[in-house]
């Protein structure tokens, strides 16, 4: 449409949010302007999606030098991997303004800022720029959680903030290390992400830098054993924040692994992939089992989300095309299904004033539309064939079996756990006898129903006809694996730990 469309997608919400914060706008004005801005962003993103030509390389590039002596620049661009995370944010976030109509001004303003910052992190093609947006992303979450969260919000806020900042500061050291290494090896300063793949990193410091990145992303995803902030933060956060955290921000952690760790630290990654894959599988099973035991449905969804993030991350660690494509697909599928589930949980909590599963029952009879939508999102989340969740998980498990049979089998079984906790929760909340809490439960209003309808349709469309989406993902994924074939191939032959490692080349 016009030249700086990415910048507009990033800075329009940020500026609008800041403007709302400094002006004494009323909450209605805040909500309406938030809705307008996020819909405008949605229109721009749809336009972007339509014009995206799936070359595999960065498109819609914007480049302005910033710190020339260090090669740091304002450099934006998207490829098939980042496009889908950007789209997930743009499509899902307008729903919040339509569903939750009575929140405070700061709630909507922070939501706008976090939307812009997440878009920035996904679009950034320069490491320093990425880091700036990565940190800015956290600040609105900090304030939303601390200001509008549940009764035990303060410890949860501190936990997530300190955890995330510790991770990202270590990442900063790793980023700088990459930039300095580039200077040492090519005698030129550069912080562009795409250039870093040319680096030849060996030795102990490279391994430390690898873990600097990996821990930062593992905290954000969150990957076992860095998941301990998640249950508290997801449970105590206001619904919109939980929604943002689970639907998009966690995905940016996975995106970081794909964008930084896989191409740059190919050797270290190949060395530690089996370890990471096990940590993904363990997290998946552990969080799944923990979800079964939860009494609070929001907390249950939090564990379920963590469990699914384990399988999404596993797709990256398997290092083959099926799994990686499946991961990107599953990122969108999980964003839509889990995101919507958290919004439903918010509605449920608002209308019944409880989060305890046992206090509820018989809602299906009172609110059939709500129950239907919930069921579709839930089935997508557990990966029923015909919904979006199936395609992604299927591809990931396929890739995982190719990578390592044990991991593939374990990943497959953990899906069964997912079915257990989801269906059991659904049975207790929506069927059985109704009680005092659910007696007067109102069904979704027309506006709410129409808000959720597109996403519910998207879930089904993505499950039945995935090809248009996959065709945009595949070129970038293929490029990801063609960048450094000699090094990876060499690792396979020299690394006795990974006999089954297979590398695909196009």
């Amino acid at each position: 449409m016009f030249e700086h469309v990415l910048s507009v997608i990033i800075f329009l919400p940020i500026l609008a949010g800041l403007l709302l914060l400094v002006t004494p706008a009323s909450r209605t004005i805040a909500r309406v302007s938030g809705l307008i801005i996020s819909l405008a962003t949605l229109v721009l993103s749809l336009d972007l999606y339509a014009n995206f030509s799936a070359t595999g390389h960065l498109e819609f590039v914007e480049y302005i030098p910033w710190i020339q002596s260090l090669g740091v620049s304002y450099h934006l661009g998207i490829d098939g991997i980042s496009l889908f995370i950007l789209m997930a944010g743009s499509v899902l976030l307008p729903m919040v303004y339509l569903v939750f109509t009575t929140k405070e001004k700061g709630y909507y303003a922070n939501l706008l800022i976090v939307q812009g910052a997440m878009a920035g992190a996904v679009c950034a093609a320069d490491m320093i720029l990425f880091y700036v947006f990565w940190e800015v992303m956290l600040l609105p979450v900090f304030f939303m959680l601390g200001l509008y969260g549940g009764p035990k919000r303060l410890p949860a806020t501190l936990k997530i903030t300190l955890y995330t900042i510790a991770g990202s500061l270590l990442m900063l050291a790793a980023i700088v290390y990459l930039g300095v290494s580039y200077h040492a090896q090519f005698n030129e300063w550069n912080f562009a992400i795409s250039k870093m793949a040319q680096l030849n990193l060996t030795g102990r410091v490279a391994a430390v830098a690898f873990f600097g990145f990996m821990i930062a992303f593992a905290i954000k995803i969150p990957l076992f054993p860095f998941h301990t902030w998640l249950p508290d933060a997801y449970t105590e956060a206001p619904t919109a924040t939980t929604f943002v955290l689970s639907a998009i921000m966690a995905k940016i952690g996975v995106y970081g692994v794909i964008r930084f760790v896989v191409p740059v630290f190919d050797e270290q990654f190949a060395r530690f992939a089996i370890l990471l894959a096990y940590s993904g599988v363990i997290g998946m099973m552990y969080c799944g089992l923990a979800a079964i035991a939860q009494k609070d449905f929001k907390r249950m969804l939090a564990f379920s989300s963590a469990s699914h993030m384990g399988i999404i991350a596993l797709g990256v660690f398997c290092m083959n095309m099926q799994a990686l494509t499946g991961t990107i697909y599953q990122i969108v599928a999980h964003a839509t299904s889990t995101g919507v589930l958290f919004l439903f949980a918010g509605i449920l909590e608002d209308r019944t004033n409880t989060r305890t599963i046992d206090d509820l029952g018989g809602i299906a009879a009172k609110a059939p539309v709500f129950a239907l939508f919930f069921a579709i999102a839930m089935l997508a989340s557990v990966g029923l064939p015909g919904t979006s969740g199936f395609i992604g998980e299927f591809m990931i498990i396929l890739g995982a079996i190719k990578f390592n049979t044990v991991i593939g089998v374990l990943a497959g079984t953990s899906l069964i756990i997912g079915v257990c906790y989801m269906l059991w929760m659904f049975q207790r909340v929506f069927f059985e006898k109704s009680n005092a809490n659910s007696e007067n439960f109102k069904d979704l209003s027309l506006v709410e129903g129409l808000t959720f309808l597109p996403v519910i349709i998207l879930i089904i469309v993505m499950g039945i006809y995935p090809q248009p989406f996959l065709s945009k993902i595949t070129p970038s994924v293929a490029l990801q694996f063609s960048q450094n074939p000699p090094v990876i191939a060499q690792t396979v032959t020299t690394n006795a730990l990974l006999p089954e490692l297979t590398i695909e080349q196009k």
Partner: protein, 472 residues
């Protein structure tokens, strides 16, 4: 000669202005209010002159004055700009501060300007005696300013502590000068550097001892471990604007001369670097340990000032004595100054009469009552913690880059760990301001607008500095 005078024009303006203010206050010609604005104008004029020299003077990188006793480099110009800006904001915040506190006389502003003249001289000095003179001009003025509230016990204790320990540091410095003069027969940096280059650093005990004593004096003034103990009490005893002034302008001056001295010669720097490495690490972690336990905001900021000294020492360890530009140090000083001065400017008008609000708990719920002030303080704290997109982040980025570039990866990682720890006490104030209900109303009217305006301008500075690119 004209060239000499042109190079020194900002210093001359500041010196003459200080004397003028001293005279007018001696004859009681001007009241506090007018003196405050007068000193602010002097700082502003000197700042603009310095700025024009910075913009136009890039052709000549090293310009000497008075036979090489003073050298004006880009580094000293940048440090001068920081000092003058600090002075400007300090006087304006003091104006508001003294609407609520009543121990002010016009001499206060005159002394602030005098201190700045010492600091400016310090940034340019390339000769040990001149450094000592500048150090004492600055310190004497600061001693008086720290103890300006004579009826306040804490303030008096602070000045006594600072004076005695500071006198020790001064004695150490002169001792070091004597040692070095004994070995090299000169006090000029350039001659000392030539002597070390021809004779070697480790060969002469007098040089080693002399530079040791001088470093001790600098480390004391910069509040580095193990000479950091005075900082907490002195910062607490001084009035809020003066604490801000000491934390920023004084540190800028000291680090400028410290860096200039350290890069005299590669072997001298190499000889001290492994000790400075440990000093930097200890300074960061000891500062953090002290800051975590504090209940008083000013004491926490004092301790966090120690931590920032540690970061600056990282930059000093990483400097390359052959191609020294000082840009990283100057940038970090500017970024740190903007954040710290901002907080103290805000404290100047939020502290209330007699600085009654001084603990973390006193600022609970500030965001509800004064949302803009709370937002400004949060931005300053985030800048000090190094969260993007603030100046503090860019400063930290440059320091880490220069450290890793110099091969000091361990130091860079320790610096990162230290800033993770420091998140706790910066966040603590933000949490107090935002996530608690107000225990009081904060409803007294702001006595004058100059400190709030300073705060606002400094918020803009925090973001503006972060966009300014430098070369490492």
């Amino acid at each position: 000669m004209t060239n000499d005078l042109m190079l020194l024009l900002p210093l001359i303006i500041i010196g003459a202005g200080a004397i003028l203010l001293m005279l007018t206050s001696a004859f009681e010609k001007l009241n506090n209010e007018v003196t405050a604005y007068g000193s602010a104008i002097i700082f502003a004029v000197a700042f603009l002159v310095q700025l024009s020299a910075c913009i136009s003077g890039n052709a000549v990188i090293f310009s000497e004055a008075f036979n090489g006793i003073l050298v004006v480099s880009n580094f000293s110009k940048a440090a001068g700009l920081i000092i003058l800006a600090c002075g400007f904001f300090t006087t304006l915040s003091s104006q508001t501060y003294f609407k609520q506190n009543n121990f002010c006389t016009p001499e206060y502003y005159s002394l602030t300007v005098f201190a700045a003249s010492g600091m400016l001289l310090l940034t340019m000095a390339q000769e040990l005696i001149t450094v000592f003179i500048a150090l004492e001009i600055m310190s004497l003025a600061i001693y008086i300013l720290v103890g300006y509230d004579r009826k306040n016990v804490i303030s008096t204790e602070a000045v006594l502590k600072y004076l005695i320990l500071g006198a020790f540091a001064g004695a150490f410095f002169t001792m070091g000068t004597a040692f070095i003069y004994g070995a090299t027969a000169s006090t000029k940096f350039i001659k000392i550097s030539q002597f070390i280059a021809s004779h070697g650093f480790s060969q002469s005990p007098a040089i080693i001892g002399g530079s040791f004593f001088i470093l001790v004096a600098f480390l004391f003034k910069a509040a580095a471990f193990p000479f950091h103990a005075w900082v907490i009490d002195v910062y607490e005893g001084a009035s809020a604007p003066i604490t801000g002034y000491m934390a920023t302008a004084l540190k800028a001056a000291i680090f400028t001369v410290f860096a200039n001295f350290l890069v005299l010669d590669g072997t001298l720097q190499a000889g001290w670097i492994k000790y400075l490495f440990y000093i930097a690490v200890f300074t960061m972690f000891v500062g953090n340990l002290i800051a975590i336990g504090q209940q008083s905001l000013k004491r926490m900021l004092a301790a966090s000032g120690i931590v920032h000294t540690g970061y600056l020492l990282i930059a000093l360890v990483a400097v390359d004595s052959n191609a020294f530009t000082g840009s990283v140090i100057a940038y970090y000083l500017a970024a740190y100054a903007a954040g710290t001065l901002g907080i103290f400017a805000a404290l100047s008008y939020l502290g209330g009469a007699g600085e009654k609000r001084k603990n973390f708990d006193d600022f609970k719920g500030l965001a509800k009552a004064r949302p803009y002030s709370a937002a400004a303080i949060s931005i300053f704290l985030l800048s000090m913690a190094g969260i993007p997109p603030t100046a503090g982040f860019m400063g930290k980025f440059y320091i880490i880059t220069s450290a890793i570039e110099a091969g000091q990866i361990a130091l860079a990682v320790l610096g990162i760990i230290s800033s993770i720890i420091s998140m706790w006490y910066y966040l603590r104030l933000i949490i107090n301001m935002y996530f608690y209900e107000a225990e009081e109303q904060f409803n007294e009217s702001v006595p004058s607008q100059s400190a709030p305006i300073c705060t606002f301008v400094l918020v803009i500075c925090v973001f503006a500095i972060s966009l300014y690119p430098i070369a490492i």
